[in-house]
């Protein structure tokens, strides 16, 4: 597997403009001759579909839900970063670049991250022009806030619904192209396979989840915008349908998968409250601006928070990190919460929670001020937990939130399969080993609105594009493979449900294995155990999963089973990736790699690379390749928040 990043040479701030100039173009009159498939309609997919259609290409767009507006970008709360420096507080493209690459613990490509910072300003202009109702100052200019511990106010927001508003902006642009007939929209389709003809991506195989029909679609270019794989853990903040299937199928057809073990665990989520729980809900990180995190000093203290006197509370973040206190980055906050609970100091019925207390802030600023700042979050919390944070402290616990790993892409966002591109969370791209708050929306829209069209034109302009038909062997073979796999999944159900397992039971078992051994803290022994256990769960799935109904109707159990089958395969490269990365970096602590003060210790001498996994066959272990990371413009430093 050849990993040529195609990162342009020349000075950092010229790379993107030079690259755009050297990339080939497609004449406007010729664009209508090319067909492009976009899978996914989140920020990346919707913005790419709209932009390419506006430029004149024929676009076919696919989504799994009933409408393109449902994609999970919609749930992002906090905001979107841009280097506008509207607040005159010292921000610049270079600073956003530096913060992003440092926040990612120096595990991303310099050229890509700089480009992201560079186009961030255009995103804001674009969204404003679309009528996205960003928050405003009284004078009518755009408002900003500081987010996730950034030292400048560069985050643009629309109440706590920034993702929703940006997605509806992109959905509007997409809707306009659907109306104009330049995008053909296919809803309720799940991608099952990438079709590769003579080494190039030429189409996809999808399942119509309303009818069960397996369909082939041809194109000259395929773009995946299919999001992250956090649901491998069963419980995460992701939507129920978020899955790895599209990316995993691409991987099995030859696309390298980069840094699969890089997963972000968000520190402020509502804790798990029972086995029936289907998902975890994120509470905005902004709460840590005023909330104080604590646990009881004594193990197993079951008194109510109000009955624990001040002297018996341990404000572990403030004590351990006096200069950052409760505002330490996500990974540090998450790890410490888990550590306290592992000591047996966790609170709540499960012991898997810590307090986030607003009592001091209320005393200092008054009830009204605090309610004004966090009222909507407090209401949301109260709806779910039936407890009022104005009266008793919130309980929080870390949860899986975002996956930095994904399909390996070059500077043009092309995977190792020519003609197959990956944008948004489904590529490994720009966040290194840890993503900063308010940067996911930025990256999704940067890829979709401002980067992918240049790459597509270059690909089409430099390659001979052969027209293919869905009646050719690779399409028929792919279809048959998909159908066989579904039949294989359904075969156990003939004799009834007795002695069998449901999809969710198996998914939960996988989730527990991954969370316990390949979560925030990892060690060799645990990872090796997981590597032994995983095939057993996989076998259990294929031998004894029970699926009601047939393939020829709406069958939501079958849909879930297909996704779980892929998570069961994918989990293995996550574990292998975690096993080979014997350093702590970004979001995870490799327990064998710690400083004397028990903080994460990065190892630049041995691990300053992207780990890219190649699928070489179902029976063989995957092969890892390395893309070395070279830093010309920044000097990797060890993070310290003491």
């Amino acid at each position: 597997m050849e990993l040529n990043s195609r990162a342009p040479s020349g000075p950092l701030e010229k790379k993107w403009s030079n690259h755009r100039f050297s990339n080939k173009l497609v004449n406007p009159a010729n664009r209508r001759k090319f067909n492009i498939i976009v899978v996914g309609t989140g920020l990346a997919g919707a913005s790419a579909s709209a932009t390419l259609a506006e430029q004149g290409y024929q676009v076919k767009t696919f989504c799994i839900q009933d409408s393109p507006r449902r994609a999970h970008s919609i749930a992002a709360q906090g905001g979107i970063n841009a280097a506008k420096n509207y607040q005159n507080d010292g921000d610049s493209i270079h600073r956003l670049f530096y913060d992003t690459i440092k926040g990612g613990d120096f595990r991303a490509r310099e050229a890509n991250v700089y480009r992201l910072a560079e186009v961030s300003n255009q995103i804001i202009d674009q969204c404003v022009a679309q009528g996205v109702p960003f928050a405003r100052e009284y004078g009518g200019t755009l408002a900003n806030r500081s987010f996730g511990g950034a030292q400048v106010s560069r985050t643009f927001y629309a109440r706590g619904q920034t993702g929703q508003q940006l997605l509806l902006g992109a959905y509007g642009a997409l809707s306009r192209q659907i109306h104009a007939g330049r995008v053909k929209m296919y809803t309720r389709r799940e991608m099952m396979d990438v079709v590769v003809v003579d080494g190039r991506a030429k189409g996809i195989t999808v399942r119509n989840v309303m009818t069960g029909e397996i369909e082939s679609h041809t194109a000259d270019v395929v773009i995946l915008a299919t999001g992250g794989y956090g649901n491998v853990y069963f419980l995460s903040t992701n939507a129920m349908a978020s899955n790895v299937t599209a990316a995993w199928r691409a991987h099995k057809r030859g696309a390298g998968f980069a840094n699969p073990s890089f997963v972000q665990i968000h520190p402020t989520c509502i804790p798990v409250h029972g086995d029936y729980q289907s998902k975890l809900t994120l509470m905005s990180e902004s709460l840590r601006n005023d909330g104080r995190v604590w646990v009881p000093k004594t193990k197993g203290d079951t008194r109510k928070a109000a009955n624990i006197p001040e002297s018996e509370r341990e404000y572990y973040l403030e004590n351990k990190y006096p200069s950052f206190g409760n505002l330490v980055p996500r990974d540090v906050a998450s790890r410490n919460a888990k550590e306290q609970c592992d000591y047996g100091k966790g609170v709540g019925t499960t012991g898997l929670a810590v307090y986030l207390d607003f009592a001091d802030a209320i005393k200092r600023d008054g009830k009204e001020t605090i309610y004004k700042k966090y009222g909507n979050l407090f209401q949301m919390y109260e709806k779910i937990t039936d407890s009022d944070p104005m009266v008793e402290p919130m309980m929080i616990y870390p949860a899986v939130h975002y996956t930095m790993g994904g399909l390996w892409v070059d500077y043009d966002l092309m995977t190792t399969i020519p003609g197959l591109f990956a944008i948004g969370e489904c590529n490994f791209s720009d966040h290194g080993a840890n993503r900063l708050g308010a940067s996911a929306l930025m990256q999704g829209l940067a890829d979709g609105y401002f980067i992918i069209a240049t790459s597509i034109a270059h690909y089409l302009g430099t390659n001979k594009i052969e027209v293919v038909s869905e009646h050719e062997a690779p399409f028929i073979d792919s279809k048959r493979w998909v159908e066989d796999r579904i039949s294989k999944m359904l075969k156990n159900s003939v004799g009834g449900s007795a002695g069998k397992f449901t999809v969710d039971e198996i998914h939960k078992e996988l989730g527990r294995l991954m969370w316990d051994n390949c979560g925030m803290g990892r060690n060799k022994a645990g990872l090796e155990t997981a590597l032994e256990e995983l095939p057993k769960i996989r076998k259990k799935f294929w031998d004894s999963v029970y699926l009601p109904g047939t393939n020829k109707e709406i069958n939501q159990s079958l849909e879930r089973a297909g996704r779980v089958a892929d998570f069961l395969e994918f989990g293995e490269i996550m574990i292998r990736d975690a096993l080979t990365r014997e350093e702590s970096c970004g979001c995870h602590l490799r327990e064998e790699s710690q400083t004397e003060e028990n903080e994460a210790k990065r190892d630049d001498a041995n691990y300053s690379h992207v780990s890219v996994w190649e699928h070489v066959g179902s029976e063989e272990a995957p092969v890892m390749h390395k893309e070395p990371l070279v830093f010309e413009y920044v000097t990797p430093s060890q993070r310290s928040y003491k």
């Binding site: 409408s67 109702p133 405003r136 642009a173 109306h179 309303m210 939507a239 129920m240 289907s278």
Partner: protein, 251 residues
């Protein structure tokens, strides 16, 4: 943690062409911290274990923002709790021994696909008719070159908060989609960016709304009462004004 026992009467319909009907299920030991959809998950696991067909329902984000979930519970779209979607409705609002009647969102414009799962693509087509500002990617002016008074931006945001769940239609005695349509028309009519296409937008979106078979507003206000995002029917008044202005000057 307390648990309750429930009797569920759920609408079962194998597909759009088949006749549907209510089936009764007894469900014991439901934890009151569960969400309504988690309660349905528990029922579905039970049905699956018994070798029966689970209840089909749409859902995705389970945090009240994607707009994909929704059903009518005891005659009320999204159930008895104010300003929540079904996924954010919790079982602590019910009592042991309750009988809950669960039906799909019903409307002439929403074909039932299976059980509680309906086709709401008509709402997408209303947006496609004009629910956007026609700007291409690139070449847009600096964000701060379009100043917008804070109050105006907030009003636009109130309307823009619509999640497109379609509960407004299901609760309306006339099956009107006017709250949904007016939310988008209002958002863009309130903002300077929306002025250029203001009239055409109102005409095109209302025309599409009628074409899809939705009814018209008679101020029953049922839509506002069930809207999980608290969208006000003032938006409908604004849409009517926009429509009349447009039809008198353009139509």
């Amino acid at each position: 943690m307390t648990s309750i026992n429930l009797t569920l009467k759920i609408w079962r319909q194998p597909n759009n062409d088949a006749l549907g009907g209510f089936e009764t299920y007894l469900l014991d030991g439901i934890h009151t911290d569960m969400s309504f959809l988690e309660m349905l998950d528990v029922l579905n696991e039970k049905l699956t274990k018994e070798g029966k067909d689970p209840v089909a329902f749409d859902h995705d984000c389970r945090e009240g923002i994607c707009g994909m979930c929704g059903a009518v519970v005891d005659g009320v779209a999204h159930g008895p709790e104010k300003e929540v979607t079904l996924c954010q409705l919790h079982m602590r609002h019910f009592h042991s021994g309750d009988t809950l009647v669960i039906e799909p969102f019903r409307s002439r414009a929403y074909p039932i696909k299976k059980d509680l799962l309906v086709d709401r693509s008509a709402l997408d087509r209303i947006i496609q008719a004009g629910g956007y500002v026609s700007v291409n990617t690139g070449g847009t002016p600096d964000g701060n070159s379009i100043p917008i008074p804070s109050q105006q931006a907030e009003l636009a945001m109130d309307a823009a908060a619509c999640i497109g769940c379609g509960a407004c239609v299901a609760s309306c005695p006339n099956g009107a989609a006017m709250l949904f349509t007016s939310a988008k028309i209002s958002q863009l009519a309130l903002l300077p960016q929306g002025q250029v296409e203001r009239k055409n937008r109102a005409l095109a979106m209302v025309e599409q709304m009628d074409k899809e078979g939705f009814g018209n507003c008679t101020n029953a206000k049922e839509c506002e009462a069930v809207c999980p995002k608290g969208i006000s029917i003032r938006n409908i008044a604004r849409m009517n004004k926009e429509f009349f202005k447009a039809i008198l000057t353009e139509g």
